[in-house]
Symmetry: C2
Amino acid sequence: MVNDDMAREAGKQAAAKLDMPVSRIRRCLEPGPIVLVSSAWQGETNIMTMGWHTVMEFSPSLVGCVISAGNHSFRLVRESGECVINVPTTALTDEVVGIGNCSGADVDKFETFGLTPAPALKVSAPLIRECHANLECRLADDSLVDKYNFFIFEVVKAHVASSPHYPRTLHYTGDGVFMVSGKIISRRSKLRPGLL
Amino acid sequence: MVNDDMAREAGKQAAAKLDMPVSRIRRCLEPGPIVLVSSAWQGETNIMTMGWHTVMEFSPSLVGCVISAGNHSFRLVRESGECVINVPTTALTDEVVGIGNCSGADVDKFETFGLTPAPALKVSAPLIRECHANLECRLADDSLVDKYNFFIFEVVKAHVASSPHYPRTLHYTGDGVFMVSGKIISRRSKLRPGLL
């Protein structure tokens, strides 16, 4: 039992992370995984589950996303102007669901879900160590926040696990149902050079 | 040989389509598939491959996406204020790659890739019959188009194939490499009712 628990916990640890050029983070986000957004403000931290995001530019590295004003994280992100977008794998399925199911107004999500906050390099919000990738973000444009809760962040630092190259990610379809990322296929030889 | 070709072509036909309430189109888009955007303006039509999009609201049903000004479709979409977001499955992998590889300035993409334009109900842009889902869209907010090529559309009509419920979609990672959607897992029983 103890060994089982240890193995399960070990499976949650991401491999050692390497710097990724921020212009290349489409590899992490463009396939559309559900992500965990971590934030901090005045001594308080929080994590939320987010599925509404898109890459918007390579350089500067921009990501747009919706953080509902009804979410406890909204104030932390808006006031601090920072967050970390963390990409979990299926090893964290229970945590992803649990985090989306409760509010940071009621619980400390790092503690409740056994996740490890690690210091970021360029923002105050903590990285979630167990995730495959950690993208440090600064608010770049808040012009659509009031109208749509839509934040545009610049990714200022990216930490990505050295393996696997294509992690097994969760993709939300609504209604409590996730699609899990499947096989990888390359059409690289078919693309004209300008697209690579 | 003829039979093989016919079978292959048959595989490209989506099942008969049903109306889907537009507030529910997250099921089609939130998992993050690559999509085909069809457009029309002054007798010209075009198709582009797009990977940068996000759901922004349930009701009205809003989708934000980046259509680069360098793309031939940009003018058609901007001038008409309309498009259709079509969700292809892996049966159309060659078409998705080919469409992303050439410009509508040079070729008629419907003809070149053997795709069937079908009339939409609420917009002038054509549906792509072979795709799993067709989302008719009207431009709802162009305030970030000049700065980021970011369009916010309202989905005004949604046609979705009656089966499969979870289609095999393509998810772009860059560098000519796609992730194919994998297994479906439900955590519905774990969600608090307010989230369903």
